[in-house]
Symmetry: C2
Subunit: 456 residues, 2 copies
């Protein structure tokens, strides 16, 4: 609970931009998946780092939990206000502060969305390639160490955030990293904060690595007779070192969902959606090598999309696949889960997961960024059907255990939040789990930064 006097102080610091309106609390108490609503006590809309610092100082003084909010698209309950407190919504800190063309970097505020940034960059010949599908905020993407379709080529947020401005738990403003492309100067605080899900501080500014827009792009869709052939084609492609820009797997159920949602008619078979970036020569080279591989695995319906509008249609379909899957079962909610395994274990992990879902009482399309060994199941659950929800959770649980058994991780990109905290000790072992707790304790001794998430 936030006392009225403290609320008045918070409001005064932000010149009124702190609210307890029912609708604001409701919106900021929801998740995109199955977590029960947890409305916070108040929502703040800061416009500057100084305002964030002032807010956090007050919360620190009064032991109020502080939860950062970007676009609300996280999938493991990262933003749920389980202990109440203040949600800090960064939607008014959404400016691209500087683009350094020559150094291929940009400094942005956390509320900038992925799409907004790339629209801003269009004329510069540069792009920010990390693409989790949702039009997430850059700050949120950094906090969950997001990745998505292009990570196989361009890396994840870990690789593309080179510096941060952070408001620490006591309100201190800290800077990490620099604009240099590498450094050996001390602990990598940037990497420590990327993926910390708001448990160590609030990010108020990010320095991002940009990439040149490729001279040539080509994309394709191809169908396989079975899941194994598709996944093995991916494994071979990665092992051959073909620098794929995207290589996405959709199982038959996902294809059915996409067909219905987007009004297209892909054959009802497992598919790969792929993209190649580079110079004209390099793309032609990649296309030819990839073509040889998928032919060996019996691919059919090889359909190229070298035109921009065709490619946009293709990736819009892929990005909407989550919503397409939800539309398979009217009014349903979902348990969306992701795991990531070493590429040699990918076929095994996907097949076992598919078998497990097939043997269950619910539907669950499988799709994912298979070039990284990363895939998702979207487990569809009737609202208020506790038996189905329990079944979905059991399937997700077994997926996570499967990932660990195969030398992987319980989440490649969705993060831990509330949903996967129970796996942390199992994945990392007691000493690493304790070390994370010690770091959290050292930087946030009062445990006000997103309490209850990620760490012990």
């Amino acid at each position: 609970m936030i006392k009225d006097t403290v609320f008045a102080e918070l409001t005064s610091v932000l010149e009124g931009r702190v609210t307890r309106s029912k609708s604001d609390l409701e919106v900021h108490g929801r998740s995109e998946t199955w977590f029960a609503d947890t409305p916070p006590d108040a929502v703040a809309y800061p416009q500057t780092t100084a305002e964030v610092s002032a807010l956090v100082k007050l919360c620190h003084a009064h032991d109020i939990p502080v939860i950062g909010w970007g676009a609300g698209t996280s999938l493991e309950g990262q933003t749920m206000a389980i202990h109440g407190g203040l949600v800090v919504d960064f939607s008014k800190m959404n400016r691209v502060l500087r683009v350094n063309d020559a150094d291929m970097d940009a400094i942005v505020q956390p509320g900038v969305s992925r799409e907004q940034l790339n629209t801003d960059l269009r004329a510069t010949g540069l792009m920010f390639p990390v693409d989790p599908g949702a039009n997430a905020s850059i700050g949120g993407m950094a906090m969950t160490r997001a990745s998505g379709t292009t990570a196989v080529r361009y890396g994840t947020m870990r690789d593309n955030v080179i510096g941060l401005e952070v408001v620490l738990a006591d309100g201190t403003i800290m800077h990490t990293g620099s604009r240099a492309r590498k450094s050996s100067a001390g602990y990598d605080l940037t990497a420590l904060f990327v993926g910390s899900e708001g448990t160590l501080g609030l990010v108020t500014e990010l320095t991002l690595r940009l990439h040149g827009q490729p001279e040539a792009i080509n994309a394709a869709v191809c169908a396989f007779d079975d899941m194994d052939s598709a996944v093995n084609a991916v494994m071979m492609t990665i092992q051959m070192g073909i620098p794929m820009a995207r290589i996405e797997f959709l199982d038959t159920k996902s294809v059915e969902a996409v067909n219905a949602y987007a009004g297209v008619d892909f054959p009802l078979k497992p598919h790969l959606f792929v993209e190649f970036n580079g110079s004209e020569t390099s793309v032609a080279d990649q296309v030819s090598s990839f073509g040889d591989i998928v032919q060996d695995f019996g691919a059919s319906g090889f359909d190229w999309a070298s035109k921009l509008e065709d490619r946009n249609a293709l990736w819009t379909m892929r990005h909407n696949a989550f919503y397409a899957c939800l539309a398979l079962k009217k009014g349903c909610i979902s348990v969306v889960t992701d795991i990531c395994v070493p590429i040699s274990k990918l076929a095994e992990a996907v097949q076992e997961t598919a078998d497990d879902i097939a043997a269950s009482s619910i539907e669950g399309p499988i799709l994912g960024h298979v070039g990284d060994g990363n895939f998702h199941a979207i487990l569809l659950v009737e609202p208020d059907n506790d038996a189905e929800l329990a079944e979905a959770k059991r399937l997700a649980h077994r997926m996570a255990e499967r990932a660990l058994k195969l030398g992987g991780t319980v989440t490649g990109e969705h993060g831990i939040g509330l949903g996967k905290k129970g796996f942390m000790e199992q994945e990392h072992g007691a000493p690493a789990w304790a070390a994370m707790g010690a770091i959290k304790q050292a930087l946030d001794p009062k445990n006000i930064m997103n309490p209850g998430k990620l760490v012990p």
Copy 2:
């Protein structure tokens, strides 16, 4: 000081492989550069993680400093036993434990050398590309977040270490990371430990990302009329997105040193040494684009080395450039320093540094991994000439300040150790410097792990 009773305990734990012999203490008390010798109290040669853990437990109980030792090639005094204590030499933990061809990763012990690993990998078609020049140990390279000639293409140790086994300050054995290519599961402890210079624990095992040996390699040397043209050609190459495997700058003085040391006769002009990796088509494509750029900047003496033996000779010369520079001044020692700036500031940083050295009383060749914005000065100092040493330190100091002024870092790859600790607060600011101290305090409250280095 280590008491005789404790020494007896340490010896007993390692079945005799702990020594206080004068020669062992001397060897482990030296650096490759200008730091005064600081022999430790004892040197241990563990063979297993369990032995390392037992050693550290004893040191923890008796408040004995613990300093890791790989190949002793660090350049900022990282291994100096300034508070005495036990040096843990990893030369007997030098096995490649496993190579996973299909996943392109390997698990190695810290004492494996870079060259040994690549020799082991030769038949697999894979390679570990990080190449700081010296035949450093992989453990040491991880601890200083090393990089070198190939970082422009393949990244640094930050990008190529995906998991660690670490013995913490109290002897606990901790594991970080997994064999998955990416993860969003909690704090990135791997990244925190890479670059920590042994101040948080001793690394006893590393999981490394490997890369395919390129199908085609080409290399070249070209000379420029002036430094500015060479550096601007690099900037243009990087901005054009040509995926250079190496792009190295040598100033005229470095070329003079290489000529004398390797018995070659490059023209006495600034040079670039470059390498291209990829498919046959892609390499041809890169060579052509790069050729166009350097021609625009007036390059001459364009000399290709597509044959393996020519390339080996070329990179051996580059790797020996440090020793070649030392040989310029008989019996000298050196202050070797490195900075890294945003690529747009590279010409300015190099030119100002060259002018500063030219105006000084000592010689200092400049060379470096300019594709990252990273370069070195090797400042040559007569032994026992305090005035020259002071002058070299002043020049190095101004280089570091120049890097910060230009938005860069005081070290791109050599690390902090003793030599650059004085810049940490200036580079990172008081809050980040304090956060590093808090993390150190949380994980090593007795301050026994490489005390006095890197952190407050």
